[in-house]
């Protein structure tokens, strides 16, 4: 078991060594990068928006439900929603959702290219297939995910306000006062640092599982599942490590 663990670690870093090289042709890399930004980032916007709106709303209602004591001011609802969304919900939960959507997409795309000999075709042409296929995905995820997370933060807090006032659990004044109360801008920086690290994990770990797929359609499905599972575990582990490093 340990042998296999170290084998995968070694092969992953060996893959990264070939991935993180200067692209053979910048014009081709740029084209691939924009394509990936569109297919991995922009297409994720609707799911991120929907989840963020409703999660923000649920956090607000749950907070209001919990703060029944007269000693807790009602603006604490806005305060709690803001911190929950910025510190944990947007960077971590949305990244876990992106691990499912983007991670399985990357693993199955590269895995299918492997079993249909498209990667062999690239190698025969003299193309560094690892760098050509994986580097644009990593760069695209690390570039676009922070924007997705910022949008998620905004929509989460906005969703909390919209549904909180609609449900009558908090007034606009109290909510807005709460989200401004003792605001620490470092929390945003912390969330974005986490997002960039998670984006790297999602793209590289999924690409690793796709790139080394062997067999047929069944194995592509397995690679895709493995990619999501390992990405999710690594996101949770690195969430702990980064929180410890940045907030303690």
């Amino acid at each position: 078991m340990f042998n296999r663990f170290f084998f995968h670690i070694g092969r992953y870093f060996s893959m990264l060594q070939r991935v993180l090289t200067v692209p053979g042709k910048w014009s081709v890399f740029k084209k691939e990068l924009f394509h990936e930004i569109d297919s991995l980032g922009l297409t994720s916007l609707p799911i991120v928006a929907i989840i963020s709106l409703f999660m923000g709303a649920v956090i607000t209602i749950q907070a209001a439900f919990g703060f029944t004591s007269a000693w807790v001011p009602l603006y604490a609802v806005g305060y709690t929603t803001r911190d929950s969304v910025i510190l944990e919900f947007s960077p971590t939960i949305i990244s876990l959702i992106l691990a499912g959507k983007v991670g399985s997409n990357i693993a199955s795309e590269i895995g299918t290219m492997r079993i249909t000999e498209q990667i062999d075709a690239l190698e025969i042409m003299g193309v560094n297939s690892r760098s050509f296929l994986i580097l644009p995905k990593i760069v695209a995820c690390m570039f676009i995910n922070p924007f997705l997370i910022l949008i998620s933060m905004f929509l989460g807090i906005a969703g909390g306000w919209l549904l909180g006032t609609f449900a009558g659990v908090v007034s606009t004044y109290q909510y807005v006062y709460g989200i401004q109360y003792q605001f620490n801008s470092f929390n945003i920086t912390y969330a974005l640092i986490k997002t960039v690290v998670f984006a790297f994990i999602i793209a590289s770990v999924s690409a690793y599982h796709g790139y080394y797929t062997e067999g047929g359609a069944l194995e592509v499905g397995r690679s895709s599942t493995k990619a999501v599972v390992y990405c999710s575990i690594l996101i949770l582990v690195f969430n702990f490590i980064l929180t410890q490093l940045l907030l303690s």
Partner: protein, 252 residues
């Protein structure tokens, strides 16, 4: 010219290719034939560098590919065109983008020149109007022809085809065979085709290498193959009752 010297390859202690040596001339279409599992594709992968042989030499115009450094290997690969069994076209790109891809990667051609070259290659394989289609919109035969167009786009010196006729009807198979032969003659390439289709052997087999029991068993041409005394080769060629009867008829 490509020269193989004592190529050996084994996987998990199982010999797949044993001591294979032969020469493939420039401007000639050479066929490697043999039963499924005889090691033809592994041999081809050893030649093109997708798999490294355990021992032996693979000489491209006298230079051993196995002793080349990374830069030399990359330069060699730019001179190689390969037609894969399933075509291996890039799904996310149109036919034209598939063909211009190696040109965009390795040449200084302008976009206009790349498109002109793609059109030329497409017209060469009789698919002039397919440039804007995606691989999923093509039939099996069309995919093979696009793959040939992509392989010849950078003007390679060496062309490798892995079972170009698999899954095609006899008429389309002959078309593909003729196309490979014509292109080889026209561009004076060294062409190696892996197949187990005897129609291809008779149509374009200027040189035929028969692989059996993971070794080179026989070497000749399409003119000599039908009269061979080699038992294993005869078993391979005359496997069907129809061909056996035809052979007996010719003898009598």
């Amino acid at each position: 010219m490509i020269e193989l010297k004592n190529i050996n390859k084994s996987f998990n202690g199982r010999h797949i290719t044993q001591n294979v040596s032969c020469t493939f001339e420039r401007g000639q279409t050479s066929l490697i034939i043999g039963e499924s599992g005889s090691g033809k594709t592994v041999l081809l992968k050893c030649i093109v560098g997708l798999t490294e042989p355990d021992t032996g030499e693979v000489l491209f115009d006298g230079k051993d590919a196995l002793k080349m450094n990374a830069k030399e290997k990359q330069n060699l690969r730019k001179e190689i065109g390969m037609l894969f069994q399933g075509g291996a076209l890039f799904d996310s790109k149109t036919v034209e983008e598939n063909i211009t891809f190696p040109l965009a990667m390795f040449t200084e051609m302008s976009e206009k020149e790349q498109k002109e070259r793609a059109q030329f290659c497409l017209s060469r394989v009789n698919l002039k109007d397919a440039g804007n289609l995606y691989p999923s919109e093509l039939s099996g035969g069309m995919k093979k022809r696009v793959a040939i167009a992509r392989a010849i786009a950078p003007n390679p010196k060496y062309l490798f085809c892995d079972e170009p006729n698999s899954g095609l009807d006899p008429k389309t198979s002959i078309l593909i065979d003729k196309l490979i032969k014509e292109i080889t003659d026209e561009f004076q390439m060294t062409t190696i085709v892996i197949t187990h289709d005897m129609n291809s052997v008779m149509e374009i087999g200027e040189k035929v290498v028969f692989i059996c029991n993971n070794q080179k068993w026989w070497e000749g041409t399409n003119k000599t193959i039908l009269n061979t005394d080699n038992k294993e080769l005869n078993d391979f060629i005359y496997v069907s009752k129809f061909l056996k009867e035809l052979k007996d008829k010719n003898k009598s």
